[in-house]
């Protein structure tokens, strides 16, 4: 098991490197540049600025310098767009915000989603099932860029219970609406996955045996059925959690939370190369990390899997 983890980590390094090279190529292939603006700068001024940020160097050299700085000093460079802060500053300030509402959303999505799915499976084809399925389809069909504004309309404008945006260092009343908006569609997916995999497990032989032995239903579900039924949920969770904590751009835009997602999208539009790279590497590393975590959990939950 330990050597498996080591092997996976060893593969992660070239994977990230390929990601860096690929992103660099795409970035330089895109028209425009970080200092292009509506009023084109005189060539002399453009030269001064490009020299300051090393953009006058050949592409390969920019790439090598970048990787060396990241590896040796963990320095992701200065932002081209936000002149008075570095990429490290941006990640340091934005990532905790996204991490906070992302993890809360993951928690809510898993707890509510699994509960809904299990209840629906146990009471298959009853009104409980139909309403659980109905809710989850509805929740999934309602994209968060529609849901967010509706939440603000209802809870801020009409009821006046919660602030319509902002973060204020993560005070609870600022966290609630982003978490609802972000978790709903994940919750819906988890509910549907749980329901169908639970149904499959409930029809399998070992559950029938457990039932035949006369075990109480609650015990059959919690002790025997839940663990195998959650395997598909687990494999879905890896990418889902990365999606949630690396920022739903939509949530950042609608609720003005100051999270990392907003910077990610803006940096692409602004051609803020350093920020694009920094956040890409962060997301890449998280994706690799969470997939590894999911695989380890898999082996722990499913005795059939051994590495």
């Amino acid at each position: 098991m330990f050597s498996y983890i080591l092997r996976r980590l060893a593969v992660a390094v070239p994977t990230l490197l390929i990601l860096v090279v690929f992103s660099f190529v795409l970035m330089f292939a895109a028209p425009g540049g970080p200092f292009n603006s509506e009023r084109p700068l005189p060539p002399q001024i453009m030269q001064n600025i490009e020299a300051r940020y090393g953009l006058d160097q050949p592409y390969w050299k920019q790439m090598v310098d970048y990787v060396v700085n990241v590896v040796t000093r963990f320095d992701f460079g200065p932002s081209f767009q936000y002149r008075d802060r570095s990429v490290n500053d941006i990640i340091r300030q934005g990532f905790p915000v996204t991490l906070t509402y992302g993890l809360w959303s993951a928690l809510v999505a898993v707890i509510v989603g699994v509960a809904l799915g299990v209840v629906a499976a146990i009471r298959q084809n009853s009104w409980v099932d139909y309403s659980a399925v109905g809710i989850s389809i509805g929740a999934q069909a309602l994209p968060n860029f529609v849901m967010g504004p509706i939440l603000v309309l209802v809870f801020t404008l009409w009821l006046g219970w919660l602030p319509g945006g902002g973060w204020r260092g993560g005070q609870w009343e600022y966290v609630i609406l982003p978490v609802i908006a972000l978790s709903t569609s994940y919750m819906a997916s988890i509910a549907r996955i749980t329901r169908s995999s639970m149904l499959e497990v409930l029809n399998s032989n070992f559950i029938r045996t457990a039932m035949a032995k006369g075990l109480p239903m609650r015990r059959v579900i919690l002790r025997h059925a839940l663990k195998p039924a959650l395997l598909p949920v687990l494999s879905y969770l890896g990418p889902a959690i990365v999606g949630m904590i690396t920022g739903s751009v939509v949530v950042d835009v609608i609720f003005s939370t100051g999270g990392i997602g907003q910077f990610f999208v803006n940096s692409a539009f602004n051609r803020d190369y350093a920020v694009i790279m920094g956040i890409t590497i962060l997301v890449g590393a998280l994706t690799i990390g969470f997939n590894l975590l999911v695989d380890i959990l898999y082996a722990w939950i499913d005795p059939k899997i051994r590495y």
């Binding site: 425009g32 002399q44 001024i45 504004p149 404008l157 803006n266």
Partner: protein, 546 residues
């Protein structure tokens, strides 16, 4: 201000120190004797995180507003955009118009209690022009035509050679290479504001962070959370602090304008921009809060006059026909509906000292314009009965630009039988395509004045201008503009330049911008008559609600 009022407010200020500010605010009167609200805060919405709040580096409108509140330049603008004293109490100009001497007020102080001196301005201007600073607004220093500025910007001369000197602590001398009648207007721009040398040298790039930042404006930086908020509080060391009413100014960064509007309606904001097309509804529902004022920007289409453009568009009569067939009233009244004004020329009508030249086209009805357009098109042999013409309209991705393009496409189709295709590109790609003039038909453009003077518009159509994306080149135009630069009364020259544009149609002007926004009706002092919308928080105050 009268001496009596100074004394009174001085006494009042002393009382506050003893009695606490809440009780004081209730009794305090505004500049026109209004009863002030206890809550002297102002919260407004900005679209996006500021690229920088360092005056020498500020490059956007919203950053400039922050700059004007944290710092103060030699001159300020009043509520109508006129130049009024700032750190300088006044200035003298030499007879040849090349030397300006500014007299600085001795009571001006930095927020750390140090005096603001002429040397602070010298340092700032040298820093802005210095290639090492790599400011995107370095070009603005070039525009000011200060002695040696081009050589300094090119790195051929040390910044200390720049033509600006501190004669003594309170006298600043600026030497220009050409007389610029609007020079005092130019020093109301944030790029020219003083910056504190000792603080910048101590903290480097981090000098703009809360705790480090020292300014000389009416406010100091209290808090700054990227992409979320920026909070300014009153600077007690500001020389005119006793006439500053608001104690806290907060900008909330809200990307989505519809969200911002909802939050405004929920009372979280005192001011926010209005989403396109909402003005008629909101001005009916909130007549005292929905505001539309002219904004010094012009919306137009570039026509590609280079070899990459369609051959048909090289004919001035075809361009004229296309321009005539645009029913601008429909666009401003139905598509945009926010108080915009139809444009047939480039320079915004509200520009200081400018009058749009008279022209037949403005007095014609749209039916007459359409008839004339059809004649011109028929003569040129294109359109309904001639050679088919297909024009691509290129615009940067946005709902509002698409709506305008769709409307114009239909007008051209119906009136002239010209078909159109729409092409939208993401901003940076769009800038590259248009800048390299690689579009076949017309490309959307919008230009905003950098300073309130007609040349700020007309300069862009000069043959060597970086924003001349039509590829228009007219020697006559260039020489008129060169002459206007030093003319006693440049207005007739500007008007002649406009007439060239209106005859040649290198661009198809569509409308003059307006700014539409919601402003809480307890907030007073907003400079509605300032066409550049340059507002100063020190001039705002909140009156008690009825």
């Amino acid at each position: 201000m009268t001496l009596r009022r100074t004394l009174l407010s001085g006494t009042a200020a002393a009382l506050v120190a003893m009695a606490g500010s809440a009780a004081f605010a209730q009794d305090m009167a505004g500049p026109n004797g209004e009863q002030l609200a206890e809550n002297q805060t102002f919260t407004y919405r900005v679209l996006d995180e500021f690229p920088s709040i360092d005056p020498n580096l500020i490059e956007d409108v919203e950053g400039s507003a922050i700059g004007r509140n944290l710092f103060e330049g030699l001159m300020n603008q009043d509520s109508e955009g006129n130049v009024v004293p700032g750190v300088a109490t006044g200035y003298e100009v030499s007879d040849d118009g090349l030397t300006y001497t500014f007299n600085l007020r001795p009571e001006a102080m930095w927020s750390n209690g140090e005096p603001v001196t002429a040397q602070d301005f010298v340092y700032s201007w040298q820093r802005a022009a210095d290639p090492a600073t790599a400011s995107e607004y370095q070009w603005y220093m070039g525009l000011m035509a200060i002695e040696n500025v081009d050589a300094v910007m090119a790195g051929e001369m040390d910044p200390s050679e720049l033509g600006v000197t501190a004669v003594d602590d309170h006298t600043l001398e600026v030497r220009l290479t050409q007389a610029l009648p609007y020079f005092p207007q130019m020093v109301t721009h944030t790029t020219t504001f003083p910056v504190p040398q000792s603080v910048i040298e101590e903290h480097g790039d981090a000098w703009t962070q809360p705790g480090n930042m020292v300014g000389n404006g009416a406010y100091v930086l209290e808090e700054r959370v990227p992409q979320e908020r920026i909070v300014l509080t009153k600077n007690e060391n500001y020389w005119d602090a006793e006439n500053v009413y608001l104690d806290t100014v907060t900008a909330l960064i809200i990307n989505d304008e519809n969200q911002a509007l909802t939050r405004y309606l929920a009372g979280e904001l005192d001011q926010t921009d209005m989403p396109a097309g909402q003005f008629p509804r909101l001005s009916e529902e909130y007549p005292t809060e929905a505001i539309s004022v002219p904004n010094l920007c012009t919306y137009y289409y570039n026509v590609n006059l280079t070899d990459a453009g369609l051959p048909a568009l090289q004919e001035a009569s075809v361009r004229e026909a296309l321009s005539l067939a645009i029913d601008r009233d429909v666009i401003v009244d139905s598509v945009l509906a926010g108080g915009q004004v139809p444009a047939f020329s480039l320079t915004h009508w509200a520009t200081a000292g400018f009058e749009v030249p008279e022209s037949d086209v403005m007095s014609m009805t749209q039916e007459e314009r359409n008839a004339r357009a059809q004649e011109l098109m028929a003569e040129a042999g294109y359109g309904t009965d001639g050679e088919p013409l297909e024009i691509e309209i290129l615009y940067n991705t946005s709902d509002a630009h698409r709506s305008v393009a769709v409307a114009i496409g239909q007008m051209w189709q119906q009136t002239l039988g010209v078909t159109t295709t729409l092409a939208n590109q993401e901003w940076q790609t769009f800038l590259t395509t248009r800048g390299e003039k690689q579009y076949p038909g017309v490309a959307r453009a919008g230009w905003c004045a950098d300073y309130n003077e007609a040349s700020s518009f007309l300069d862009i159509m000069q043959s060597d201008s970086g924003y001349n994306d039509s590829g228009f080149a007219s020697e006559e135009y260039d020489s008129l503009m060169a002459e206007a630069r030093t003319a006693e009364d440049p207005l007739p020259l500007y008007q002649q330049a406009e007439e060239i544009i209106m005859a040649e149609h290198p661009i198809l002007p569509i409308y003059f911008y307006s700014t539409v926004f919601m402003l809480d009706d307890t907030i007073k002092g907003w400079p509605l008559e300032n066409a550049q919308d340059n507002w100063y928080a020190k001039d705002l105050y909140r009156v008690a609600g009825e």
